[in-house]
């Protein structure tokens, strides 16, 4: 009987310990969430509606740093930013036969380029494609009508 009570006490203690651990972890998770810059995702309805709305909008300059990652492929970047398939190939003089199905980090490694330097070049190329067309005064010379490659492609 005593043994049964001992087992019962051990199980109760384990249960209480687990509950305490759960509370601590939930607290840490909540604290992390509050510190997150995207804490407005607390409202699931708003978040889902915002996500659905974003599906119909092309990514912009503000999204470049988020999307362009070492593991990303050229194809992924072209699709997300709606770039013409040959744009990055031309801008960065890419000769890899697997383009656009090649990772950025892998390509940089194969060409002995520092991955961070290559990522910066890719970001810059996308930025210049997405850059808004600068209105040119009518009095200026005609060839400077557009500064964005998007307008010419």
């Amino acid at each position: 009987m005593k043994s049964q009570n001992d087992k019962h006490s051990i199980l109760t203690a384990v249960l209480l310990g687990l509950v305490c651990l759960l509370l601590v972890l939930c607290g840490v998770l909540f604290w992390r969430y509050r510190r997150s810059p995207h804490a407005h995702f607390g409202n699931p309805y708003q978040a889902i509606m915002a996500s659905l709305a974003r599906k119909h909008v092309s990514l912009g300059v503000a999204d470049i740093d988020t999307v362009v990652q070492p593991w990303a492929t050229f194809d992924y970047i072209n699709t997300l930013f709606k770039l013409p398939p040959a744009y990055l190939q031309t801008q960065l003089s890419i000769t890899d036969s697997h383009y656009p199905r090649v990772h950025l980090s892998r390509y940089a490694k194969s060409k002995n380029i520092d991955a961070n330097v290559f990522l910066a070049q890719v970001k810059e190329a996308i930025r210049s494609y997405l850059a808004p067309v600068v209105p040119v005064p009518a009095a200026s010379s005609a060839p400077a009508a557009s500064s964005s490659p998007a307008a010419s492609l």
Binding site: Q4, K7, H8, L11, T12, V14, L15, L18, V19, L21, L22, L25, C26, V28, L29, R32, Y33, S36, P37, H38, F41, P44, A47, I48, S51, R54, K55, L59, D63, T66, V67, Q69, P70, W71, A72, T73, D75, Y76, T79, L80, R101, H103, S105, R106
Partner: protein, 199 residues
Amino acid sequence: MSSAILSFLLSYLLLYKYVTLFVAVFLAAIILPLPISTVLVAVGAFSSQGYFSFWLSLLVAVVSNVIGDSIAYSLTRWYRDTVDREKVAKSSRFFGALDVYFKKYAALTIILSRFTAVSGSIVNFLAGFSATPFSYFVLCDAIGNTIDTGFYIGFGYVVGDYWQNFSGSLEMIGWIALILFLIIVVSKLLHDRYWKALK
């Protein structure tokens, strides 16, 4: 190390899409400790960007998970048929108690353990060892996996481009799920002991 594995998985996910998703989830379901919850959130985010299909991703992930779990189940089921399971259960009090518990709460244990990567694999092996009917195991496994996978892919779909900001918290969500699972198991054991004592 974990981020290197994640980068490797993400890059191949973008190259071979559903094939990589199938293989990664399948290997994780058997026993490999891959950061699969983060991969599923990434797939959800890729779906929201239009690079993956949400429903196809969900289907592929659930099917590969169920196949992987079934193989893990079959391994111990096969082992059980080659050794005298009753003898093992009688000689070891731990296995005996586990056998009794598992027969009583098989559905609850299988479904809840899908939310925790570590215990999921252990429960697959125990389900095979305790000779849970295969069709019953697959049904519970599919229900649990659909909810779990749907949660992660859906979460990725909702947070979209910002999914990387949440990847650090996913590990913690996994630990919370594991502790919740253990709380339920211990509560069930306490509940059984309480009623036994009353009788």
